[in-house]
C-alpha cells in the first residue's frame, strides 16, 4: 500500500515545488522508496528543481496516453537510490489528466513497491490541482505568512474536505500545515503573521516552519533539493518537517530572530 502525499497551496509561488522536492528527498533519505510526480501539465518545473531537466524523455501524460511505459518515464535520482521523478508534460493539454488515467498510474506505482507517492500540485484549483487533491491520503498545505496565501490555503482545505476521494468515501485526508518563507525578526516586530496566527486561522496541525533563506534560491539554481544542504537553515527545517511527518517529535527551530552582533548590524550583514 503506497501513501499518497499531495503538496498543495492554492496560491502560486509559495514554495510547493521546492517543498515537494525536499519532502520527497527527505522521505527517500529516511529509507523509503519514494516517487515524486509533477502535476503541473504545461508548466513543469519539478524536473528543474530536482536537477533532472536534461533526462526527461517521457512524462506523466505520455504514460496515461499509453505512449510510454511507467518504467520508461520514471527518472531515477542520481543522489538517492530510493527516489524517482515523474515529470509533467510540457506541451500537452492539461485535460489529458483524467481521473481514470491518474488513478491507474498511481496504482501501478504502488504495485512497483513505492511506499510514498509525493504529488506536486500546480497552483489554482483547475484540473491538475484537483486531480492531485483527489487522490491524497495526506495533504501538506504550503502557506506563506501572508493574507492571500492563508486565504487560498483555507479554500484548498475546503476542497480537500468535500471533493477528495477520501472525503467522498466518508473518510478524511490527513492535513499538515507547512509555513514557508518565515521571517522571525519581522514576526517579532509585528510585521508578519506568526506561526500561531496562521495555525489559529487555518486550524491545521503544524508540521514545519521553513525560514526565509538564501539557500533556497541557491538550491534551485543548482538543481539540488534544499534538504540535501546540511549547512542551510531551510534544509534542516525541511528535515525536521519530514521527521515529524514520519511520527518523530522534534522542537521547532529557526523560529526566533537570530542574534546579530554589533559588527553585522553596522555592516548590514546577515540574511
Amino acid at each position: 500500500m503506497a501513501t499518497i502525499v499531495t503538496v498543495t497551496s492554492g496560491k502560486g509561488g509559495v514554495g510547493k515545488t521546492t517543498s515537494s522536492a525536499a519532502i520527497a528527498a527527505g522521505l527517500a533519505q529516511a529509507g523509503h522508496r519514494t516517487v515524486v510526480i509533477d502535476f503541473d501539465v504545461g508548466l513543469r518545473n519539478l524536473d528543474l528543481i530536482m536537477g533532472v531537466e536534461r533526462r526527461v524523455v517521457f512524462d506523466f501524460v505520455s504514460v496515461i496516453a499509453g505512449e510510454a511505459t511507467l518504467n520508461q518515464a520514471l527518472i531515477q535520482d542520481k543522489r538517492l537510490e530510493n527516489l524517482s521523478i515523474l515529470a509533467a508534460s510540457q506541451t500537452k493539454d492539461k485535460d489529458a489528466l483524467t481521473e481514470e488515467g491518474v488513478g491507474q498510474v498511481l496504482d501501478q506505482l504502488a504495485e512497483m513497491g513505492f511506499e510514498y507517492i509525493v504529488c506536486d500540485s500546480p497552483a489554482g484549483i483547475e484540473r491538475g490541482a484537483t486531480m492531485a487533491l483527489h487522490f491524497a491520503d495526506h495533504a501538506v498545505i504550503v502557506t506563506n505568512p501572508e493574507v492571500s496565501s492563508v486565504r487560498d490555503s483555507d479554500r484548498i482545505l475546503g476542497i480537500l474536505q468535500s471533493k477528495s476521494k477520501r472525503a467522498k468515501e466518508g473518510g478524511k485526508v490527513h492535513e499538515h500545515l507547512l509555513i514557508t518563507r518565515y521571517d522571525p525578526a519581522r514576526v517579532e516586530n509585528g510585521e508578519m503573521l506568526s506561526k500561531e496566527d496562521v495555525c489559529d486561522i487555518l486550524a491545521v496541525k503544524l508540521i514545519g516552519v521553513i525560514p526565509e533563506s538564501k539557500s533556497v534560491l541557491k538550491a534551485s539554481n543548482t538543481g539540488v533539493p534544499v534538504i540535501l544542504d546540511d549547512d542551510a537553515d531551510a534544509g534542516l527545517a525541511y528535515s525536521d518537517a519530514v521527521a515529524r511527518f514520519l511520527g518523530e517529535d522534534r522542537p521547532m527551530r529557526f523560529v526566533t530572530p537570530k542574534k546579530q552582533g554589533l559588527f553585522s548590524r553596522i555592516l548590514g550583514g546577515g540574511d
Binding site: V147, G158, V187, N189, G190, E191, M192, L193, D197, I201
Partner: protein, 83 residues
C-alpha cells in the same frame, strides 16, 4: 522603532490587522462553502421571480441555509422598496 513603541502605547501592528481581517473573511467563506452547490443558482432564480413582480436590488435578497440538529432551515430575506 522600539523606542517609538514605548511612547505610542499599544498601537496595533499590521500583522494583528492581517489576522483580524483573515478571521472575519475566512469564517464568512466557510459558511458559504458548507452550503449545498445549488444555493447560488437558487438565489439567482428566486431573485428573478421576485423581480418579475417587484423592483428590488440584487443585494436586497439574501438566502442562507442553517442546520439545526437533523433539520435544515432555508431562510430567505427580501428587502422590499418603500413604495
Amino acid at each position: 522603532m522600539a523606542l517609538f513603541g514605548l511612547f505610542s502605547g499599544k498601537k496595533k501592528t499590521s500583522a494583528a490587522a492581517a489576522k483580524e481581517r483573515l478571521q472575519i473573511l475566512i469564517s464568512h467563506e466557510r459558511q458559504n462553502r458548507n452550503g449545498p452547490d445549488f444555493l447560488p443558482d437558487l438565489q439567482r432564480d428566486i431573485l428573478a421571480v421576485v423581480k418579475k413582480y417587484v423592483a428590488v436590488r440584487d443585494d436586497h435578497v439574501s438566502i442562507r441555509l442553517d442546520r439545526a440538529g437533523d433539520a435544515s432551515v432555508l431562510e430567505l430575506n427580501v428587502t422590499l422598496p418603500e413604495n
